[in-house]
Symmetry: C2
Subunit: 166 residues, 2 copies
């Protein structure tokens, strides 16, 4: 009798992926919880810090929160003075989120610290092994995203067939 049900490799991979992610995330969360930032808030700041001003919709897709969540997150960052909304000149429905001077300074301060917290958290892997692991995880992630989009499109096609446009 096997001690565990004969888990498929895929399931096992998912389990260890989840645990590794949760363990590293705990370090990250502790780091910015000290500063009163939620994960989504930090994610938004980081995206703006590295990419510059972004449409709320783009920011939303980058940080994987819903549109309502994005509004909430940006509201909070605006309230702290780290972010401002800038109307999009070419599309009056849309707004950019943009780091303020204070927001940029803040990220200058905390980003290096955050980086070293993460470095420590992933130090279980030797540096020379990291590139290979990075490649594998990239591949894994890309394919998972692609499959999800594939499913979403076929779902949309089916719905389109029931509600055809004129």
């Amino acid at each position: 009798m096997s001690p565990q049900p004969p888990d498929s490799l895929g399931l096992k991979l998912w389990v260890v992926l989840s645990r590794a992610h949760a363990a590293v995330e705990a370090h990250a969360r502790e780091d910015f919880a000290r500063r009163g930032l939620s994960p989504a808030e930090f994610g938004a700041l980081e995206a703006l810090y590295h990419k510059g001003p972004l449409l709320l919709g783009d920011l939303q897709r980058k940080t994987l929160v819903t549109s309502g969540g994005m509004t909430y997150v940006v509201d909070r960052l605006v309230a702290r003075g780290y972010v401002e909304r800038v109307r999009c000149p070419s599309d009056r429905r849309a707004s950019f989120a943009s780091l303020t001077e204070a927001g940029t300074q803040y990220m200058d301060e905390i980003f290096r610290e955050h980086q070293s917290v993460i470095e420590r958290a992933v130090s279980g892997i030797d540096d020379d092994m990291k590139p290979a692991l990075i490649e594998s995880l990239k591949k894994l992630g890309f394919e998972a995203v692609r499959l999800a989009q594939e499913s979403a499109q076929s779902a949309k096609r089916e719905s389109g067939a029931r509600h055809p446009s004129p």
Copy 2:
């Protein structure tokens, strides 16, 4: 000029780990959201399904939710008839959570489907590459957990120094 700031390897590893995790998790979430289960609920059912009855505290550590969250999750699963609480005979503070007949039947039904959803989600990695990836992620996760415990202990020691026991 580099397009991105010269990210450290560790940070890059963390980013791709997060993305891969989020992408696969999206498949998993969609799978059990259809059944009205939250991630934590599914996690608890899965743990009980594979390990048998567990003390709430053990279940909590396995699924990484807080103690209050565990009470909430178990309450919901009890309300659905999938789980029951069983008092621990040797320690009257503690309770086991245990799958009911209906809960076991339910997991028999859904677990295979869930497994194939996950298999598909991680199919970006060839089967013969998975064992190595699994080993790396295990190592990464274990070390991250160990470092967190290390930090927690030193924090506890410091607090203990301020509030020494008699």
